[in-house]
Subunit: 280 residues, 4 copies
Amino acid sequence: MLTPFSDLVGRYRVIFFDAYGVLKNARGVLQGVPELLSWLSRQGKDVYVITNDASRSPAQMAAAYVHPEHGVLIPESKNISSGLLAKDFLRSKVRTGRVAYLGKPSSAFYIESAGLTPVHIGACKNSEELAAIALLDDEGFDWFRDLNLILNLMRRVSAPVIVANPDLVYPVNDQEVGLAVGSLAGMLERIVGKAFVRFGKPDTMIFSHAFACAHENVPDLRKADVLMVGDTLETDIVGANTFGLDTALVLSGNTRPEQAKLMIQTKGIIPTYLCESVFT
Amino acid sequence: MLTPFSDLVGRYRVIFFDAYGVLKNARGVLQGVPELLSWLSRQGKDVYVITNDASRSPAQMAAAYVHPEHGVLIPESKNISSGLLAKDFLRSKVRTGRVAYLGKPSSAFYIESAGLTPVHIGACKNSEELAAIALLDDEGFDWFRDLNLILNLMRRVSAPVIVANPDLVYPVNDQEVGLAVGSLAGMLERIVGKAFVRFGKPDTMIFSHAFACAHENVPDLRKADVLMVGDTLETDIVGANTFGLDTALVLSGNTRPEQAKLMIQTKGIIPTYLCESVFT
Amino acid sequence: MLTPFSDLVGRYRVIFFDAYGVLKNARGVLQGVPELLSWLSRQGKDVYVITNDASRSPAQMAAAYVHPEHGVLIPESKNISSGLLAKDFLRSKVRTGRVAYLGKPSSAFYIESAGLTPVHIGACKNSEELAAIALLDDEGFDWFRDLNLILNLMRRVSAPVIVANPDLVYPVNDQEVGLAVGSLAGMLERIVGKAFVRFGKPDTMIFSHAFACAHENVPDLRKADVLMVGDTLETDIVGANTFGLDTALVLSGNTRPEQAKLMIQTKGIIPTYLCESVFT
Amino acid sequence: MLTPFSDLVGRYRVIFFDAYGVLKNARGVLQGVPELLSWLSRQGKDVYVITNDASRSPAQMAAAYVHPEHGVLIPESKNISSGLLAKDFLRSKVRTGRVAYLGKPSSAFYIESAGLTPVHIGACKNSEELAAIALLDDEGFDWFRDLNLILNLMRRVSAPVIVANPDLVYPVNDQEVGLAVGSLAGMLERIVGKAFVRFGKPDTMIFSHAFACAHENVPDLRKADVLMVGDTLETDIVGANTFGLDTALVLSGNTRPEQAKLMIQTKGIIPTYLCESVFT
């Protein structure tokens, strides 16, 4: 029932990888990833990272895949994050003004690069004039003080609320998970009754964005030429399935090997392939 | 459309009051409450407080209604809290063992008085043997560290999870609200997929418990003899309506005067009376 | 891990039984039930049926447990249904007027016996003056025509909406389920955005009502003297647990033997006992 | 606060129209629409219909906008429906086999044109081998019999479930709405616990698909050159906002003029413009 990942590669021209649980974990890039990426490059495969992440800039993401010997393995332009979609929204729909945000200072990149002024929630006055409110990351603020502050901002201000990472949890280690900003967003949305604008998997827009990038390099690219590799049924697999890509679920992250079959059946989300990891 | 509260009193033998937004606010008991309670007592009315609160013991609650001149206005036994129901559950269903809890040290009363051992979440090891997990209050712990810790406890342990205050928010002042432990519970429940056991309004059990107490004092008491006075449609009013009591919505707390009519129509929760406050 | 049901009986003075999946199935009362009930009676046990059902009157329910030889096994007064709670609500809170309802004509009992006038949804004009809307059963009306009709009534009328059976599905046979009125209610509630008033398990009010009845017969009855026997974790078991009763999950209905352990762990709803059926 | 629609046209190169509530109502195309479309054509505007609809083929949709004098006003290729996205999914992800569907026979177009075999739910055996289940329309089947049938199919079969119109209701006339297939889908999804695959607004994929079509005609087209015109905040406006288009909310359909301001503020979904209708 498990397919070796290396057997799949020949069938596709472009590979989309999720980052956490596939190429990385909480301690960084997995051992063997530089070699894998180099090998894919030699095979002529075009590789992208498709990640729900607005905690750091594409440049910082790219830096994770730089190897002393092989150089840059996945350049900035091929790290497609939910943060990038949020940035596009801020630039095209909000345009100017101050944006209160939850997240580390490095998250502010997505606001600044859209031409707006980031205001860290901790520095935000309750009377602040705001063009938008952005939930970018679960770290970099005082949860008790700042979740209460942002709740009251949301009640007072009629500006749009943006969620740049809809994930509920992220894996911390083999046993534990952490609460991601998508969980905090869900809690706040139910209280204030507004419709937050969410960016990232499973919404298909991130796949559409990445496919358009890949299509520029390979003009005759079809969806059937692309494989999405992810560790999470509810984001990676259902999103890419909906967009029309083939999908491989790897069992190295959020989906534990002993649960995979039951979860696929229970949820009705069916990956094209099941692989132990990207190394097999 | 507004009825003076004093006009209603003659029609009932027993009055159930919500605490926050009716008799108290964040700064304490409202001016005029001791006089009101004394007057009700002289009219022969039996008065109870029905409150979603597990942050302090009934004795501490009663102490809020003690007046230098009039003495104890609402005794410990007539402060019926959601915490009491949680205590009954722990005593009858869990019985022995250690209970990890979210809340201030004063919340531990409800675990201790049930004969179990409270373990503050901050002192809880991930390998702790637990008979139950109790979400009691939104204060008294480090949100970032301890919400992540309790999430992983919930995933690992198969013990029941108790929510002793289902409120989503509480009023901080005329403009602002605070996130109550019911919001945190809802966020965690959606992630872990378990069915938490909730105590407090709008579930009818707290009204049933209070009615049984009142019935002991007044053996021929009928539900039609009891008025529930509250400031929140979704808890006080819908719960007491379901239980079969008459209800008065006061506009001194969560429901703002300018919104009352729209909210009643939108939600379809219809109080028997609408009063400006308990003082009119 | 399975306890024989007959071993449990000696520990309790009162037994609460769910009906469907425990004593009955879609074809009627299970073989052996009359003998079981007679035996319990000889043991001096007081027996009640606690059922989410508003499709027929208590007299009709009682008639199911009449045996040519043993006579009436569970009298009308000990068939405690969610319909009865809805009737109490209509009588005490709505009082007079016309009530549009979804259900078979036999459901109208709960409206008529509360002193109100039932109007079958199929006979209801869109301009009808209504005191309440009642969702009583999934049969006895044209789903397409009447669900659309009642949706528009709910949007137009500000009267309370009552759901007298919150079950989502009911077992039709070993393999199939049917959509119960609670599913239809949930769909309509999400569209109209109102708070419907629900009666029945898992809300504790039905247990409170039954316990009060039992208490009249046995004045020193404590909750620890009562066992609730049901086939569904999300209604029978969690509701009775919350109310403080001991609980036995039987595997003869909604919970399949091969799923029981996983469902208990996944949902975190823990019965006191697990029994194959009431016959073992 | 209202902008005349004709004032907006000059600012955009491409106009996306929702169909129902904008260009049509339950009785057909609105008076004045042919003239409006002809005028837009003369102004050099490229016009698309973006509609949540899988009840008829694009050819049938196009036929609604044919005028004796002006000829075809919106050709088949510019009627972009949620059904088309579902068809793409069936073709690329399901590929072969039998697909049980809810809907009128005309809905079967989307299954047949993907190369699969449609099986109307009424003709579907419970033992049917199915490659997918498709919820296409709220008409063309017996709700009671067939919703129960499809529920049991969903429980038995592990094939993907497709919802080709996520709308909850549709306007029937000025006062009344009808239950759309998205409401039925939501009810079934909650019962079976699977993740259904939804196509249509507010998901951005339909906008992405339409933008790609428009881009082929106008190679230098930017998102800022496109205006989406719709009558529903929760689908048309939030979806197009998320995709990055300017949006005009018209008050001729689901959003009533007297509610528009309150709904925009309550939901936090902010259209770029507010117009009485497309005729002003």
